[in-house]
Symmetry: C2
Subunit: 458 residues, 2 copies
């Protein structure tokens, strides 16, 4: 967020070269808030303000700046300053920033950094996007099992200022295999002479570097963790994912889910609507829209096929859009509920029968209500447009039966399709809303004309 509130004051301090006031401003507000205020300034001004504070605070505020402001700054900074900034950033933030830089900039920075940091950046940026490895930080506190609580507190006191969280410390053996964890609370409450191995919890919940990031975030949510340790496939501790990263991951996955529901493809990172170019927006949407438009032509063929019926009963055309809309809406509703319940692991594919039975009952009730509405519409407003030789009641009955069948069919299709896709191991969200709407258009029109023909064409 860009907050232009303090821009005049900050500019005045800058003009006066009043570093004392600028420092005071940065230190008394939280880094996230300072970043919001600074985002409304020009990049040069932002950097000038950041010069007034300690390198640590500078890196902390920088990490909260919006990605586009960060990138502009990085473009302008000389190599030495950039390397210093990278050194002071937290390992996960700097690996993310590093990955977003163009290759020549990456090549430029690395040699200017200390070897340990260079390797850390290389390692953290090597995990594929979307895995637990790509979001973890290497900045955690670890302890051996054979020291005492008092020694552990002293050790944390020495190492703490650099660590992302010291509220959990991980207990590892000499091969860095994860044995357990102790919370700072445990250490404070324990007898100072008690050994870590006696205090530590062995029921440690962890993720593997190759796990999906959402799975890792859900573990943090489920077990109410402040941090989740991430291990290699053979159990060696490699990093942690902190609770604040879990919130960001879940928000990002939500955006991805919602966009998939609406047939929008592409990477779904947060904070990008206005930063994404029109061309990219176009590319993310065009595929499905064209595919579904082609599928929509199939509905057209069905309409064409029953042209004779429409010519005889003009009233049928009147109800066509209502039938298509209603099928799309009821199908999308059941699909959305099932997709969401699957995503939250409330239901699994094995519950298919229970789900279908529930949706069948729901759709039957919806069908009754909608059929009555359609019948009422024919009874009160369309009696005049019934051709001679037919009773309005037969026409009304035909249309409402067709609508009822359409509602039941599309609701069940909406529930079954995501289940089937999930059963095949794909993400069920892709078949929801638009694809389903187009599909139930086709089945709906077919049901409509077949039913009406059965009732009326004799």
């Amino acid at each position: 967020m860009k907050i232009p509130l303090l821009v005049p004051e900050i500019r005045e301090y800058l003009a006066q070269n009043n570093t004392e006031e600028l420092k005071e401003f940065c230190e008394t507000n939280s880094p996230a808030m300072v970043a919001d205020f600074l985002s409304a300034l020009e990049p040069d001004e932002v950097w000038a303000v950041l010069q007034s504070v300690s390198p640590q605070l500078r890196a902390e505020i920088f990490a909260y700046l919006e990605p586009d402001v960060q990138k502009e700054l990085v473009e302008k900074l000389p190599r030495e300053q950039l390397a210093r900034l990278f050194s002071d950033m937290s390992p996960d933030d700097r690996a993310d920033l590093f990955k977003s830089l163009p290759e020549d900039k990456q090549e430029m920075i690395l040699p200017a950094m200390a070897q340990a940091e260079r390797e850390d950046i290389r390692r953290l940026s090597s995990y594929p996007e979307g895995t637990a490895g790509a979001v973890m930080t290497s900045d955690y506190a670890s302890l051996p099992a054979d020291i005492t609580a008092a020694e552990a507190i002293n050790r944390l006191r020495r190492e703490a200022p650099d660590r992302e969280t010291i509220y959990y410390a991980y207990v590892v053996d000499e091969k860095r295999r994860l044995l357990g964890f102790v919370s700072l609370k445990d250490l404070i409450l324990a007898h100072p002479e008690e050994k870590i191995e006696k205090i530590m919890h062995q029921d440690v919940v962890s993720a593997c570097v190759t796990d999906d990031q959402e799975e890792a975030a859900r573990k943090i949510q489920k077990y109410d963790l402040i941090a989740l340790p991430v291990t290699s496939p053979d159990g060696a501790l490699l990093g942690i994912i902190t609770h604040d990263d879990a919130l960001d991951i879940i928000t990002q996955e939500h955006t991805e889910d919602i966009e998939k529901l609406m047939a929008i493809t592409g990477p779904h990172e947060a904070g990008v609507y206005l930063h994404t170019s029109a061309w990219e927006h176009f590319r993310n949407r065009v595929g499905w829209v064209v595919a579904l438009a082609l599928l929509g032509l199939v509905s057209g063929y069905i309409v064409q096929n029953y042209e004779g019926l429409i010519l005889q009963f003009g009233i049928l055309a009147t109800f066509m859009p209502m039938l298509a809309d209603t099928g799309g809406n009821t199908g999308s509703q059941s699909a959305t509920l099932v997709v969401r319940a699957l995503a939250l692991k409330e239901v699994s594919v094995r519950d298919a029968l229970k789900i279908v039975w529930k949706e069948f009952k729901v759709s039957l009730s919806l069908a009754v209500v909608l059929s009555v509405v359609a019948f009422g519409r024919v009874a009160f407003l369309a009696k005049n447009s019934i051709p001679a030789g037919y009773s309005w009641m037969t026409v009304g009955l035909a249309i409402s039966t067709a609508l009822g069948l359409q509602v039941v069919t599309s609701t069940l299709l909406g529930a079954l399709l995501p289940l089937a896709v999930a059963g095949m191991g794909y993400d069920p969200a892709v078949v929801a809303s638009p694809a389903l709407t187009t599909l139930v258009d086709i089945t709906g029109l077919f049901i409509y004309f077949a039913t009406v023909k059965l009732f009326l064409w004799h």
Copy 2:
């Protein structure tokens, strides 16, 4: 989640009355995991297992059981045991459970509890659903400003085991007004004789009890907090919201957003798809479905109005469903992106012009592609169904122009409608997908027939 994995083993221990093994099982696994295993048992068995552990651990495991299992247990427990269980639960969990009980059960429990707890439950359950007050816990650590770091650590050590989190302690004056906070990390790193008022951070981010719960959760996310203090309107500290609650709130709000997008009303609590009765599912969906079905009849009137045109050019009916689908899809896409960007505060209503301009460029590109597809379809497959006296090119041009206009209009409507609704202070999600699809059906058919008439009817 119900995990039936250990059911046989647990039943055997129960049959043997082997409380040692049961206790061991509950203590070596995390409470959330134990709850998963127990959920697959009958309520009587669950309670029998829980009898084997300390009251604190019992309450902790109980809090992780699924809501329906909790309710079944509560129904069966005698008053004294129930009151004991309530006393040991964390304040926010027990207030939630209390609110979900029938009134007679509520009346029964309260007198059996200590006065302080009774008042705590009454107070926490008095805040309206959806506010920060309703999700906060009264279980936080607070400190006066004038003690030393060493005294503070001792105080936390004494009070800590009962507190939801001791990683942040809140500094309050004698009227419980919030002055600042210290983290346990600050206390550990500070000189033991340093006064709290020197160590504490004064830039404390807080929420008001009446704030929306999502706003509070977003603050936790934005400022990377472990807990957010909640104050009364006059600044007195009333409780905290912890990081794990923020994850649950954001997941719940997301379910709500997705369901609103699909025109499903009703309360949107997590974990309820299978527990919600078919009747309730029906009630949550019927309103919008019927309203939109009635609106769909308007499209019908438009079709009826242009019957003459359809009779002359049969090919027009073939393209009708494609036109409606494409309008619905492109409109839903832009609406979804705007609704999501608004929800994440990436954009505000003031960005309307920028958004419309971007969507205009996107829709123009989509329009060109789809028009080419439609023209191609006429050129290659429909030359025979053009009536004498008309060139297939004119017909193709008419249909593709109409489709292009429809794509641009519906994309812009999809972006503008949520912005307008948000501008009026309502939740933009309600106008997305189904309502929009039905609306662009109407505008689309109107555009279609008007354009085609302009090209062909001479």
